[in-house]
């Protein structure tokens, strides 16, 4: 039997495959197509304290091998989430990772307090990386002290594992992983989407109502893999990697680069039945390579012959 479980601080996930935030609704929407208890975790759509309306359409546009989104974090707010969605997620034995967003440090702390008292939350993912909203969030994620401050403030008020989600829209993402680790983060997740835009040349209008949006999907995968690799060389805490994963091979690539677990977002839009295919593919790979435990794979990239070239290029 291959052991697919992985460890994030005090939390054991039954496998390393997690549904990415904002790409899986509140999880309950998908209960009809996938057994939620089969997933390593379900990261629910980013939640603020209060409900939010989000941006007007158009909210997404397809781009080569990817998509831009500017949803604007439409959501029901933390209280309705706890009352209306969490009970069903609990009944379906989902491992729930709640993605939280705040405009101020106090809002993150307040959200963490409220969710720590709710039954059925496995971990908190701090969204300090959403490129689509003006206030808060990203301002923490783009400043090393901001990242450090929000992680340490949340750590003080919750027993839950705390996972800051990092933005790739910085020069040196590894330094943000380091700041997170120093502040006591149990893991980091990366990457959120890349700030991008697309224009209709006939009308000269931006294709998104928000003008700019976040790029996700296969187009970003090689950059995301590189960023996970850099972070693995910098921090010891677990890394949850994501960005364009659409097959077991893609997931394995992230793990070999240094991820302990992975999240899958855009690919779930294309194939909502992807989850068992990913798990089967990983099991098959581990079997073929005689690896008993998936955690042995993390960071096993073999750079002995290539290291010199990579550094000098």
């Amino acid at each position: 039997m291959t052991d697919l479980s992985i460890q994030i601080g005090p939390l054991t996930l039954k496998n390393p495959i997690i549904a990415a935030s904002g790409c899986f609704g509140y999880g309950v929407e998908y209960a009809g197509v996938v057994d939620l208890s089969l997933l390593g975790g379900v990261a629910v759509k980013g939640l603020f304290l209060a409900p939010r309306e989000g941006h007007p359409p158009e909210r997404i546009v397809e781009t080569p091998a990817g998509m831009l989104n500017a949803i604007g974090l439409q959501g029901i707010g933390v209280h309705r989430f706890i009352a209306e969605k969490l009970p069903e997620l609990r009944d379906r034995r989902a491992t729930v990772i709640v993605n939280i967003c705040g405009s101020t440090l106090e809002e993150y702390v307040e959200l963490a307090r409220i969710l720590s008292d709710a039954e059925g939350v496995a971990a908190l993912e701090l969204n300090i990386s959403c490129p689509n909203i003006k206030e808060g969030g990203i301002t923490f994620g783009c400043s090393l002290t901001g990242t450090y401050d929000v992680v340490s403030a949340v750590k003080k008020v919750t027993p839950l594992p705390v996972i800051p989600k990092l933005t790739p829209n910085v020069t040196d993402v590894a330094s943000f992983a380091r700041a997170s680790e120093d502040a006591g983060a149990d893991a980091v997740s990366l990457v959120n989407t890349f700030l991008a835009m697309a224009i209709d040349v006939e009308t000269r209008r931006p294709k998104l109502s928000n003008i700019v949006g976040g790029l996700s999907g296969p187009a970003i995968r090689p950059i995301a893999v590189r960023m996970v690799y850099e972070c693995r060389r910098t921090v010891k805490i677990p890394i949850i990697g994501m960005g364009g994963i659409a097959s077991a091979t893609d997931a394995l690539e992230f793990m070999i680069a240094g991820a302990d677990a992975v999240q899958v977002g855009t690919a779930n839009f294309v194939d909502p039945f992807i989850w068992t295919k990913l798990l089967d593919g990983i099991r098959d790979y581990l079997g073929r390579h005689n690896i008993a435990r998936v955690r042995e794979l993390t960071g096993t990239i073999d750079t002995t012959a290539r290291e010199k070239e990579w550094i000098s290029s």
Binding site: V33, P57, E58, R59, P64, N69, I71, Q74, F269, F273
Partner: protein, 269 residues
Amino acid sequence: MPVDVEARVIRNTRLSSEYNVLALAAPEIAAATAPGQFVMVKLGRGSTPLLRRPFSVFEVLRTNGRVDGLTLLSKRVGVTTQMLFDAVEGDVVSCLGPLGRPYTPVDPPADAWMVAGGVGLAPFATLAEVLLARGTGVTLFYGARTARDLFYLDWFRDRGVRLSLATEDGSLGDHGRVTAPLERALAGAAGRTVMVYACGPEPMLEAVARLAAKYQRPSEVSVERVMGCGLGGCYSCVIPIRDGPKGHHYVRSCLGGPVFAGDQIAWDR
């Protein structure tokens, strides 16, 4: 519960240089489809195009009474519709469905008036069949740019659907928009119970919903918004729904729709 079927193309019928009807071997989906529901379609396994696209189920195909497939009515406008136009027998199309909230069929003595603009004809073949089976009288108000873009007229006529046509160039039926014959009919329908169903471009849907409201008839419209997943995961396909006289909130059209009551939608947002 939706299923994902690797559906074989049974045939591809070109209706014009832009429109085609693609028959797909997806009996599981066809048998479960209610009028107005849709499927999310993807051609090819690659990343271009990456996302699925929503299509109304056009016809449910039967051989000797057994459901053996469905068709899609498509107009060539983008990458996926070009691929649908070019598809040949034996090609495989990923088809996820059926999805969404269908139309609510009415029973006699109510009459059903279906209003279609262009490719918005798509949901009305299945809706007409369901309505006719209930004994409900059905009229199709159908508008397009020109007579050559009005399709399946005999199909509807043969089944007993009354037709009221309009073309923007005046080549067939009313000269102008389909809302003109619709308004005439509404004005002359005093005392009759009528349910108005619409599908087409959003300005047409708005005009139809306003006309229905003006003549105090209920309406159901099927909206088409840019959709990422069809299952409620991405929050891209939202439509503003009225909250009281001034407010609105966004509802995902894949789950709350694509069919909405015409008076629910905050058209001015």
